[in-house]
């Protein structure tokens, strides 16, 4: 079994076809008649543009205008006077063949874009290499691999797919895509999702493990790839494939529908994300907001603190993409369990009870918290950002952060920098202490979000990673349920928004209880949103009150779980 990056959901089963672009050998040749060579180049340029135009038009009608955009970009690059001018003058001055001049000039631009370090510019580097190859192929009379006429039931395997290769893919024949390079946001992944072809990318070494004609199974939801699986595994994935397609069809009906119960109670179905690019998934699954944007990614796997500017860019990107929908951003939640050398965090005996999250941030105001809060405030001018404080245990912490936010607002005012003056500051309710004094917090905080993973862990005093005791870890434990109900009730009485961003928010057995308790916002992984919406539209909150009362009357976790399981299956 191989594991790559999940790039486009679904199960693909079929015969492997390895697509390899023949490497072009570009040689320097001396020419005599530069005027004739320039004409030869111009002819190839014309043909390349025409080819690209046809591909773009075909893609626009078959898939969509947005997907054809990248090829329209290629036409713009091909018609660039600076590039063509440089190629022509190189042919004329150095008396070299067109292939060689193209190689030089296009590679120079590709390297320039690649060195800029920005994600969009990396894409331009790929574009330059793609158009370079296209022009050279025309000149050398090399045919491109014909992807459009692959046999039915093909799983396409390639090192990487260039935009011009992906453009020819026909979903009627291609049942899956596996590539060694690329990422979730690379062009081939985006196109695979638009064409609804399951895809696994960034799976290095797969080309060596597979021969043409091998049976391949891929799961684009978790990145699994099986090569020549046993009959049993094959049957299992065939079943999964049928179930996936059936459910997908059913859930698609819920895109664009309101998240409202039968008796007219509207809730918000939001998504949890860890990186700005995850927003694509949120929009794809019709999320009504971001309920939790973890900011740790900005601080991990690097040697120095991210600058305020870098953070600002990341937050702003999400705010803009969500276009006015709420985006709750959680301030840094790290402690002694994470190794971040430059942070100067020491190993903690009890990292989850230690120097972490808001405790750490308030102690490191100048170099950690202030830049983050400033970046958040500045980004708030571009969308509906709300700030959420993690691991709060006492009101003093909330007040300290609030004071810091007000102080930064003053600084921004002085400098005339825009921000949202009414930005909401809320708390993540995830400690037993915060739950017990939720009524006090509700008077000052602008919103609550219940973090059930930690709330369960702290309430039950259980490390869920420890197999010997993980049986204690259940959100259905009466102690945890009472805590959740209390937090929601306190928020509702104070008239503030209360959401949930732990795994429980998408648990089918938990959703009826949360609706009965009066939860306003459910935040979950983007792919769970439509399933949750379907469930919510099938319930009547008035009927659920009796179910919740019954569930709350039990004394053990098992009783609650059994009761809820029976209820949702009835």
């Amino acid at each position: 079994m191989y594991k790559g990056t999940d790039a486009s959901a679904g199960i693909g089963i079929g015969k492997a076809v390895i697509v390899e672009e023949k490497e072009l050998v570009i040689q320097r040749e001396t020419i005599i008649d530069s005027a004739a060579e320039i004409q030869r180049f111009k002819g190839a340029l014309e043909t390349s543009m025409e080819q690209t135009r046809i591909l773009a038009e075909d893609l626009a009608t078959r898939v969509g205008e947005k997907e054809a955009e990248i090829l329209n970009g290629h036409i713009m690059l091909l018609s660039d006077p600076m590039m063509t001018g440089e190629i022509e003058s190189m042919i004329q001055k150095d008396l070299v063949n067109s292939e060689f001049a193209i190689e030089n000039v296009c590679t120079m631009y590709a390297d320039m874009f690649a060195s800029m370090g920005d994600e969009l510019m990396q894409q331009r580097a790929t574009d330059m290499r793609d158009i370079k190859t296209r022009m050279q192929k025309v000149l050398m009379g090399v045919e491109s691999v014909d992807i459009a006429s692959l046999p039915e039931g093909t799983v396409l395997l390639a090192k990487d797919l260039t935009p011009s290769m992906t453009a020819g893919i026909n979903p009627a024949n291609v049942t899956g895509i596996v590539t060694e390079l690329g990422g979730r946001t690379s062009h081939s992944a985006i196109l695979a999702r638009a064409l609804e072809i399951p895809a696994v990318v960034a799976l290095s070494g797969i080309l060596e493990a597979v021969k043409n004609g091998d049976m391949l199974v891929l799961d684009g939801s978790d990145g699994t790839v099986l090569v020549n699986p046993e009959d049993e595994a094959l049957a299992e994935y065939q079943g999964k494939r049928a179930a996936f397609l059936k459910e997908k069809k059913e859930l698609e009906k819920y895109i664009g529908k309101p998240s409202v119960t039968k008796d007219g109670v509207t809730v918000e179905l939001a998504a949890n994300i860890g990186k700005p690019e995850d927003v694509d998934k949120v929009l794809q699954y019709d999320g009504e907001g971001v309920g939790l944007f973890r900011t740790e990614f900005l601080f991990m796997d690097r040697n120095a603190m991210p600058t305020e500017e870098e953070q600002f860019e990341a937050y702003r990107k999400v705010a803009i993409a969500m276009n006015g929908k709420p985006v709750i951003i959680r301030t840094l939640d790290i402690g002694g369990d994470k190794e971040i050398p430059y942070m100067g965090l020491e190993k903690d005996e009890n990292p989850f009870l230690g120097y972490r999250a808001v405790r750490f941030c308030l102690d490191r105001k100048d170099d950690v918290y202030r830049p983050q809060l400033r970046a958040l405030l500045r980004a708030s001018a571009f969308g509906n950002i709300k700030i959420m404080i993690p691991l709060v245990t006492c009101i003093d912490e909330y007040r300290a952060v609030k004071a810091l936010v007000e102080e930064i607002k003053g600084e921004l005012d002085e400098k005339g920098i825009n921000y949202n003056p009414d930005i909401q500051l809320g708390i993540m309710v995830e400690t037993a202490a915060a739950s017990l004094i939720a009524d006090i917090f509700a008077r000052e905080a602008d919103f609550f979000s219940i973090g059930t993973n930690d709330l369960t862990q702290y309430t039950m005093s259980v490390d869920r990673g420890n197999d010997k005791i993980s049986y204690l870890y259940s959100t259905f434990n009466p102690a945890v349920l009472r805590s959740i109900k209390r937090i929601i009730t306190c928020a509702r009485e104070a008239g503030i928004m209360v959401g949930m961003c732990g795994e429980a928010a998408s648990d089918p057995m938990m959703i009826p209880l949360l609706l009965a308790f009066g939860l306003n916002e459910f935040s979950m992984s983007p792919s769970a949103i439509l399933r949750a919406r379907k469930m919510i539209t099938e319930y009547n909150t008035e009927d659920l009150q009796a179910i919740a009362d019954q569930a709350m009357s039990f004394t053990t976790t098992a009783e609650v779980e059994n009761y809820m399981r029976e209820f949702i299956n009835s």
Binding site: G73, L77, M82, R124
Partner: protein, 87 residues
């Protein structure tokens, strides 16, 4: 020669799409159209040149037009940048 300063307000700066819109407008005019940003100068008629200048949101560009239709060219370019280049 005429010139005018204008601030770019495209959220992701001058990436391929807005740069393409700028170029398509620029090539309608005979005049040479360039812009300065810090110590770089870019040719507004070349997508590659515009992309290479790495212009971010909030950057101030000084457009310089030179030629027979320089006044019309400058007015049109400044207008289209201000309007957000299709974004």
């Amino acid at each position: 020669m005429v010139s005018e300063k204008v601030v770019v307000k495209n959220p992701s700066g001058l990436h391929l799409r807005p740069a393409g819109i700028l170029c398509r407008e620029a090539i309608k005019y005979q005049s040479s159209i360039r812009f300065h940003h810090y110590n770089t100068t870019a040719n507004a008629k070349s997508v590659l040149s515009v992309l290479g200048a790495c212009i971010k949101c909030g950057n101030e560009l000084e457009f310089i037009c030179e030629g027979e239709d320089e006044k019309e060219a400058l007015a049109a370019i400044v207008k289209i940048v201000r309007s957000g280049l299709g974004e």
